[in-house]
Structures are given as C-alpha cells and as structure tokens.
Amino acid sequence: MTLADRLHFAWDALHGFRMRTALMLLAMAIGVASVVLLTGLGEAARRYVMGEFSSLGTDLLVVLPGRSETVGGPPPLLGVTPRDLTLEDALALLRHPAIKRVAPLVIGSVPVSAAGRERESTVVGTTADFEPIRRIEIATGRFLPAGDPRRGRPLCVLGRTIEAELFGGASALGETLRLGDRRCRVIGVLGSTGRSLDVQLDELVLVPVSTAQALFDTPALFRVLVQARDRTLLERAREGILATVRARHDGEDDVTVITQDAMLATFDRILGTLTLAVGGIGAISLVVAGILIMNVMLVAVSQRTAEIGLLMALGAPPRQVLGLFLTEAGLLALGGALLGLAIGALGAALLGAFYPDLDFSAPAWAAPAALLLALGMGLLFGALPARHAARLDPVAALARR
C-alpha cells in the first residue's frame, strides 16, 4: 500500500466520522494552542523584564566596596579590614581609556523639611554624570551642575513624589529645603522616571556627592556606577577598575565589579526556566488530548470491527491494519496541532491588541516542539487501539456487523 493511498484511506475514515474527528481535533488543538500561548506569555514576561534592564544601559558596570564572597577560601587575615571606596578612587577611574563616565553614589536617610512640612527621605549624593548614565529626565529646572565633585554647592534635585509631598502641588524650583542640619536650594525636579526597576527615583532627593558625604559624615561611597566607552570595552573597563583600585589600595582586590550583562544573564536564565515551566503545563494538556485520542480510537476500532475483518479477508496483513490506524491517529494529531498553532497565533495577536506594549509571540522552539509532541502523543496513544485492531481475529471480526 503506497503512502498516498494510506493517507487517502485514513482521510476517508476520518471524514466518515465527522463528530468524532472534530472532537479529537479540538482536544489536540487546545493542547497545542495552550503550549504556544503559555510559552508566549512567559516570553512576553521575559522580554519585558529584559527590556527594563537594558534600558538601564548595557554598557554599565557597578563597583561595590568589599570582595564578593570568594569560593570558600580562608577568612581574611587579622588586621586587614576592607578599605572604603572613596571619591578619589572613583575619580581615578576616569583616567582609564575604556571608561567614559563615573557616578559615585552615597546613600542615606535623613529628615527633609520645607515650608513647615517634614518627612524622612532617602538622599542620594552623586555627580552630574549620574544624569546621562541613568538616562534621567528632568521635568523642570536642571540636574546637578558639573564641576569639581569634591566641592559641591548646596543644591538639590527632587523626585516628583517628594516635591508633591513637601510643596503640595506648588513648584519647588528655587525654594530652600532642609536636609538634616543643612539647607539647599532646589534647582530641578525629576520627570517621569518611567522604566526603572531598581530604585524609586520619584522618592529621592539628589544632592552633590560631597554634600551627602558631609551630611552622613562618611568618606565611604555606597557604590560607583561606571559607564564604558562602548559595550565592547566592558571587559577592559572591568580590568581597568580592578587594576586602578588595586594600585590605590596597597595591592588589595577589595572591590566587586558587577556587569549589567551578568545580571541580565541571571534574569534571562530564571525567566527562560519559567517559560519552560509554563510550557510544560501546556504540554500536560497535550497528554490529556493523547488520552482522548486513545479512547476515541478504541471506540472507533470496536465500531469498525467488521471493516477491519474485511480488510484482513482482502489480504491486509496485521502490520497494514496497524499502519492504517496509526496513520489516522497521526493525521488527527497533525491536523489538531496545525489548528492549535493557528489558534495560538490568533490568541497571541488578540492579547497583543489588548496589551500593545508586550509581544506575546511564542519562542521559536515552541511551535515545532508542540507539533512534535502532539504527533508523538497521537502516535503513542494511537498505538494501543491500532495494535488492538491488528490483533483482531478476522473470522470473529467479520461476524460482527
């Protein structure tokens, strides 16, 4: 029997029992569509988070004081305390050719008051370069001025929420603010901070780094943001940072440098796993569809017993009967899978229409994987009824009408 004839025969049989065929197609289609849609949702989440992070700039390095946990190793020798990361350290980094900008950060919390209102607020000391590094938008006024970071003037830039809370809707520009025991003039208000995941810029007060150091009475930096000249120079910049700090800290490697890429890779891995997990949930519905195919095919075999007996009487060997029923199962699975892919694509397009910011298209592997899995399920669960058919006794089968 040629393949074309086999397909034709199976097609006729499926066509002859429309209700049954439609049901099985539907079950398969739902399974495949749920794989495609669920992985699409997972991918949308992954893409969204990755987008958020790369909007922070993938040419960024973060320098933290202290060694990150080394793998085991002896505890630090007595008497060796990690040195502070200082403003001088940060400024020294600028001399490296691979480094474009640095933004030292000092962070602390103090009471902030103006016009009789007071609240506790996070104050961040930094430099003018923080603006381009973090792609800050200014709503009114301007950002901290450039100039010698060691001698900052008593100026500050407010987040939107802080401005609203202290000035109650009125413009804060030009007003004076009390930060602990110091006073400073508001020269700018931050605009929509939009996509920023790590710190809530809306709630911050930004001051020159030296002002913050004096305010919190510490020379130590919380961390330093470093921008490389180019993405490709990240590794050179990292080496530059380590070498510079080592030279300035008596040969001690006492800072940790984190690349944005490393963080991105971690998130990518976590969210990729999540996508796999929800895809797996979808795959379970394919197994359910496979079991349904098995049930319905078993009914089909018993309903078509006389036909099977006839095929045998006409000289079809058991293998051929097996092949015919497997072909039916395979066609059902394939047809259902294709239908499911179409439904999945439609569903993704529909979701996309409601949430235009997100892209719900499934990852490239999802469609072929769902297709293969559907086919596998169809054949696996079709095998039992097909074997049942192939093992029928032709005489007994023919006697059934």
Partner: protein, 223 residues
C-alpha cells in the same frame, strides 16, 4: 489445488470444547465447482474460513497449490489470501463510506497497485458486472443485488484462482439471488475454482460436486 488431511477445528467456549470440524479429508482440483450444504451450526462457514486462510485449523494438514499453509505466519497467510482467494459474503461487507468503485478497488489499494493501473482494472470489473452507472454510488444507495455484484467485482479484482462464497444469495430475493448466482457460475466457467456454501438445495444441485457437512464431518454426496 486444495488438499485437506485430518483437519480439525476446536473452539473453547468456557469449559466446553466445540468441535466445529472433525477429521476433514477433502481434495479439490483446480476448476472444480463445489456446493457445501448442511444444517445450521454444522461447520460450513468454519470449513470455508479454513480453506480461505482466514482461520487456522487446530490440527491436520492443509496444502494450497502444493504448499503447506498451516505452518505459515499471519503476514504470509494474508499475502496468499490477497493473491489467491476471493471471498463473497452473505452480508456483502462493503465499506459504507466508500463508493462502489472504491470498494471494488480496495484490494488493489491494499496490494499497492499504482493508481493508473487501478483505474483501468476497476473500470473493467465494473463493466463486466454491469455497474458502470453505479460507480460513484455508496453502498446505501445500492440495491442488495447491486451490492453483491460490487462484492463479486471486489472478490475477483485480484484475479484469484479460488472463489469462496458463504451463502451469497442468503440476503437477496429470488430474482437477484439468481442473477448473482449466474455471475458467480460464469466466473467458474472462465476457470475459477468455486466453493459455495448454501442452504438452498436447488442451488446446491447446480454444482458439479456436492459436499455435506454434518456435525463437523464432511460427507461427499454421490449424485
């Protein structure tokens, strides 16, 4: 052509053993026309199924064209059945979703014959059995006589040497039954070996050789 020696066929029904065939000795030469008669439940259909390789005897030796077929496996028996044996059943056994032409061509499809050749052979068979105008009809659109003619066309499309008919007229009125019988006898006239199981003594008498089956034993009726 057929040599049956000491053939027995037992069926286990619960605790009991039913001896459907007992110690059957039968030789049939190529081109003979046999009628098989006997009371209901005597083993006529079982005998025909054994001869047509649909059923395996429990014991004995059966040679078809000189080869011992009792030792062959299922696939080999299926191949012999496909190439050498044509069946005509009381209840026609047409596939309801296929047209008359498709039903006739089914053995060719199963045998893997190319579509072009298939079309030619099916057209010839339909013409021979006067079914051309019914080629695209489905079984439920045909009369009983027409259905049995489709079944005969299907049974002969592989050009078998042996035609086995189990009560071919049992489900037909007198007129169509007569028509069908004449078609079958015409096939015998053209050289086929023919075995017909029947309850109708009138039909039984038309055969060259008459076999009587009683309680699983075969007796030759001497005319």
């Amino acid at each position: 052509m057929l040599e049956l020696a000491g053939i027995g066929r037992d069926f286990e029904v619960g605790e009991q053993t039913v001896h459907a065939l007992r110690d059957v000795e039968l030789n049939v030469a190529a081109g003979e026309y046999l009628s098989i008669m006997g009371p209901s439940g005597s083993g006529k259909s079982t005998l025909l199924n054994v001869i047509g390789l649909l059923d395996r005897p429990t014991r004995g030796r059966y040679c078809l064209d000189g080869t011992d077929v009792t030792v062959l496996d299922g696939a080999a028996r299926a191949e012999l059945r496909r190439d050498k044996v044509g069946f005509v059943f009381q209840f026609f056994h047409l596939v309801p979703r296929l047209t008359a032409a498709e039903n006739v061509g089914l053995p060719l499809v199963l045998a893997g014959v190319e579509p072009d050749e298939r079309r030619v052979r099916v057209a010839r068979a339909l013409e021979r059995l006067d079914l051309v105008s019914r080629a695209s009809h489905r079984p439920d659109q045909l009369s009983g006589g027409q259905r049995q003619r489709v079944a005969i066309a299907r049974a002969t499309i592989m050009e078998p040497r042996l035609l086995l008919a189990d009560e071919p007229t049992g489900n037909l009125d007198r007129h169509s039954g007569h028509e069908v019988l004449e078609l079958i006898e015409a096939l015998h006239a053209s050289g086929l070996t023919l075995l017909v199981v029947t309850h109708d003594p009138e039909i039984g008498r038309r055969a060259g050789r008459r076999i009587h089956v009683v309680d699983g034993r075969v007796e030759e009726q001497v005319p």
